[in-house]
C-alpha cells in the first residue's frame, strides 16, 4: 500500500480551474511523501482507513472533478471557514459545503505580501491559497461564506472579496436572548442568499432531509470518537485527526457510510484486542484551535514521542459533531429555530462568557480516559490563548496535567515542541 500510494495530479483540470499549474504541480509529490511518513508508516492501521487514504490520494483530482461536475450540473458550491456556517441549509439546496484550505505554511508568504504578519496562520494560509491560485477547492467554488467570529477573519473577508465573491454572516459574541434573535435572523438571511443562487425556495422537506443527513454524519463521528476512547486505543490520533479533517470536504452521505464501516471494524478490533497502542501508552487529549488539512504537526510530534492522542476538543474535532439538531421542528421557522439552537451550543472562545467550554473540555477529558491535556493555540489566536488561563485553572483544581502550546505551521519550533511534549509525558508518567 505504502509503496503505491500517490497523491494524484491532473494538470488539465487545474488549468481549467485557472490554477498556478507550474507551481502547484510540485504539491502532490510533496504531500505524497509527507503522507507516507506520517500515516502510512504506522503499523496495524484499520483496513477501513483505505477509503480515507483514497480521499487524500484524490484530494486534488477525483474529489475536485466531482465538485466541478456538480457545479456544472447546477449545484451551488460554497466554501466556508467555520463550523458556525449552517451546512444543513447548503445541503437542503442540494449544494456542496466545502471547508477550505488553510493548514499549510506554503502559501503564508503569498498572504504576507498583503496581510500583517502577526495574525493567525490559518487566515494567512487560506488567503494565500486564494491569491496564489494554489487551492483547487478555492478555484472551484461559487462563493465563500465567511463569518464574524474573530477579528483576523472578518477583516480579511473584506480583502478576500477582491479575489472571490465573499458573503459574511454575523455571529454574535454573547449568548443572550437578543443574540439568539439576531442569530436566527442571520440564519434566515443565509437561507435567502442560498435560495437566490438556486433561483427557488428551499422546501421544508428538503431542509428536514438535510438535517437528518447531517445529524447522521455527526452521530457517526460521535460513535467513532467513543470507540476510539477505548483503552487500549484501536486507532491512532493521527488517523482520527485525518478523518475529522476529511469530514469537511467529502460528500456527507458517503462519508457517514465509510465512518460507520470503520466503526464496525473497530468494534471487532476491540473485541479481539487488536489495538494500535498498549494499555500503558500515555493518553493525551488535545483542546483548542482547529488543525486544518494538512496541519498534522502536533499530532505527529506527540505520537512520535510515544504517546497516543485520544480526543480533539476542537472545531476539527468534537466541536463539529458533539451536538445534533433536534428533529421535532416541523415548520420551516421551527426547523430554523432548532437549527440555530444547535449552532448556539458550539462553544468557540470568541463568546463571552464561555464557561460551558471549560466544562466540556473536562467532560471530554473524563470520557476519553486521557491522562493529560495539551491545549493547542494557533499563534495570535487571542481568544483561545486567553481562555487557556481559565482552562489551566480548572485543570489545576481537578489535578489534571495541563500544558498550553502556541504554534504556527512553520517547522522552526519542532525541536522545542518535541522537548515540551516529551517533558509533559515524563511529567504524567511521574
Amino acid at each position: 500500500m505504502s509503496e503505491q500510494f500517490q497523491v494524484k495530479s491532473d494538470l488539465d483540470l487545474w488549468a481549467e480551474l485557472d490554477m498556478d499549474v507550474e507551481r502547484f504541480k510540485n504539491v502532490p509529490p510533496t504531500l505524497t511523501q509527507v503522507y507516507k511518513d506520517i500515516f502510512l508508516s504506522q503499523e496495524n492501521r484499520p483496513e477501513s482507513m483505505a477509503y480515507f487514504d483514497e480521499m487524500i490520494s484524490n484530494i486534488y483530482t477525483g474529489r475536485i472533478q466531482e465538485i466541478v461536475d456538480a457545479k456544472k450540473a447546477g449545484h451551488p458550491v460554497i466554501g466556508t471557514f467555520c463550523v458556525y456556517v449552517p451546512e444543513e441549509i447548503i445541503q437542503a439546496a442540494d449544494g456542496l459545503c466545502i471547508g477550505l484550505c488553510g493548514g499549510s505554511q506554503a502559501t503564508i508568504p503569498d498572504a504576507e505580501k498583503t496581510l500583517p504578519r502577526n495574525i493567525c496562520p490559518m487566515v494567512k494560509s487560506a488567503f494565500g491559497f486564494k491569491v496564489s491560485r494554489m487551492c483547487p477547492f478555492f478555484q472551484a467554488l461559487d462563493f465563500v461564506y465567511g463569518e464574524t467570529t474573530c477579528d483576523a477573519k472578518k477583516k480579511t473577508w473584506e480583502l478576500l472579496e477582491e479575489h472571490v465573491p465573499t458573503h459574511v454572516m454575523e455571529i454574535p459574541q454573547m449568548k443572550r436572548e437578543r443574540d439568539k434573535k439576531l442569530w436566527v435572523e442571520e440564519v434566515k438571511d443565509f437561507k435567502l442568499e442560498i435560495e437566490k443562487m438556486i433561483n427557488r425556495n428551499i422546501t421544508e422537506d428538503e431542509l428536514k432531509a438535510a438535517i437528518d443527513t447531517l445529524n447522521a454524519k455527526r452521530v457517526s463521528l460521535q460513535r467513532l470518537n467513543s470507540l476510539r476512547h477505548h483503552n487500549p486505543s484501536p486507532i491512532s490520533g493521527r488517523d482520527m485527526l485525518l478523518i475529522q479533517q476529511i469530514a469537511f470536504y467529502d460528500i456527507p452521505e458517503r462519508f457517514t457510510d465509510k465512518v460507520n464501516q470503520l466503526c464496525d471494524e473497530l468494534e471487532i478490533r476491540i473485541q479481539n484486542n487488536n489495538v494500535v497502542a498498549s494499555k500503558e501508552t500515555t493518553r493525551i487529549m488535545i483542546s483548542g484551535t482547529p488543525m486544518a488539512l494538512p496541519n498534522w504537526k502536533l499530532h505527529n510530534i506527540i505520537e512520535n514521542s510515544g504517546a497516543i492522542i485520544v480526543n480533539e476538543e476542537s472545531c476539527i474535532g468534537t466541536r463539529y459533531y458533539k451536538d445534533t439538531i433536534e428533529t421535532d421542528g416541523q415548520s420551516m421557522d421551527e426547523m430554523l429555530e432548532k437549527l440555530t439552537e444547535r449552532y448556539m451550543k458550539i462553544d468557540c472562545s470568541v463568546f463571552t462568557p464561555n464557561d460551558d467550554r471549560i466544562d466540556q473540555v473536562i467532560k471530554e477529558y473524563r470520557d476519553s480516559g486521557a491522562q493529560g491535556i495539551i491545549d493547542y493555540c494557533l499563534q495570535f489566536c487571542h481568544t483561545y490563548n486567553i481562555e487557556a488561563v481559565k482552562l489551566r485553572e480548572a485543570c489545576e483544581k481537578q489535578g489534571i496535567p495541563f500544558m498550553a502550546i502556541e504554534s504556527d505551521y512553520s517547522p522552526e519550533d519542532i525541536g522545542q515542541l518535541q522537548t515540551r511534549v516529551e517533558a509533559f509525558i515524563e511529567q504524567i508518567q511521574g
Binding site: 519550533d413 522537548t419 515540551r420 517533558a423 515524563e426 511529567q427
Partner: protein, 253 residues
C-alpha cells in the same frame, strides 16, 4: 558509575557519578557536530551507560547514548542533588530559559519554557553586552556600579539592540544601560516564575547563573532566596546521570 551528558545550544556538559556522588564533570563549547564532541567526551568511560539530555539528546542516542530524558526532568533531578528540598528551578541557558516547579517529592508539577526567541536567555545578554562593548563579566560588573533607573521596553534581542543604540545617543552612561538590561531580563524571568505559582526558594542553574548581578535582583523582585549550585552549567548533565542511577536495574553494563 553513570554518565549524563547535556548537549545544549552553546555548550556540551558531562557529569560522572560514582555510587550516586558527582566525581567528575566537564564543559566544552559546542561546535558543528556536537554528537562527535560528546562521544569523545565520554569515550574514556567506554563501558559505562550514558543518558543524554538537551537539544541534541536524540542525536546522541542515535550515535552512542543508551537513554534520553528531557532537560526538564534532568534539571529537576540535578537541582535536587545540590538542594534536596528545592521546589522551584530557574534555568537560563544559551538559547532558552525554563522554569520548573516540583512537589515535595521532587516530581515535576509544571514547567514553562521560553524557547521561540532570544528574550530572557544567555544569548540576549551576550548581544547586549557586545552592543555596549563589554565582556560578559564586565557587563554585570558595570551594571552593579549604576544606581540610575532607565526603562528598557523591548525584550526582543533585535529591537533591544536598537533601543540601546538610541539610549547611548541620548547620552546615557553604559553602566546605566547595562543595569537597565539586567533589570528588564530579571523582570521577564520573575514573571515566568510567578506565572507558575512557585513555592519556596529557587535554584538558579545554567551558565547565566554565573552572572554576578542577576541573582541579587531576582531575589529582590521575587522576595525569595536564590540558590546557585557550585557548577550551575552541569545541573542538566548531572540530572541525566542521576536518572540512570535511580533506576539501576534498567540497563546492564
Amino acid at each position: 558509575m553513570n554518565i549524563g551528558i547535556d548537549l545544549g545550544s552553546r555548550a556540551i556538559k558531562m557529569a560522572v557519578l560514582q555510587n550516586g556522588e558527582l566525581v567528575n564533570s566537564k564543559v566544552v563549547e559546542s561546535s558543528f557536530e556536537p554528537h562527535k564532541q560528546a562521544s569523545e567526551m565520554v569515550s574514556s568511560y567506554n563501558t559505562i551507560p550514558v543518558v543524554a539530555t538537551g537539544y541534541g539528546r536524540h542525536l546522541a542516542q542515535k550515535h552512542f547514548a543508551q537513554q534520553v530524558i528531557t532537560e526538564i526532568k534532568a534539571h529537576a533531578l540535578g537541582a535536587r542533588y545540590f538542594f534536596p528540598n528545592c521546589r522551584a528551578i530557574l534555568d537560563v541557558g544559551g538559547q532558552d530559559s525554563k522554569v520548573i516547579s516540583l512537589d515535595e517529592t521532587g516530581r515535576v508539577v509544571q514547567f514553562q519554557m521560553n524557547d521561540k526567541c532570544a528574550a530572557g536567555t544567555g544569548r540576549f545578554l551576550e548581544i547586549m553586552a557586545a552592543s555596549l562593548g563589554y565582556s560578559l563579566q564586565e557587563f554585570a560588573a558595570a551594571a552593579q556600579l549604576s544606581t540610575e533607573d532607565i526603562p528598557i521596553n523591548s525584550m526582543c534581542a533585535v529591537f533591544a539592540e536598537s533601543e540601546v543604540v538610541s539610549l547611548r545617543n541620548r547620552g546615557h552612561a553604559a553602566e546605566d544601560i547595562a543595569r537597565a538590561i539586567h533589570l528588564s531580563i530579571a523582570e521577564r524571568l520573575t514573571s515566568m516564575l510567578e506565572r507558575l505559582g512557585i513555592q519556596g526558594d529557587v535554584v538558579f542553574s545554567g551558565g547565566v547563573a554565573r552572572n554576578s548581578f542577576l541573582p541579587s535582583i531576582l531575589e529582590d523582585k521575587l522576595g525569595r532566596k536564590i540558590y546557585i549550585p557550585e557548577q550551575p552549567e552541569i545541573v542538566g548533565a548531572l540530572g541525566a546521570a542521576l536518572h540512570l542511577h535511580k533506576q539501576k536495574p534498567a540497563i546492564a553494563v
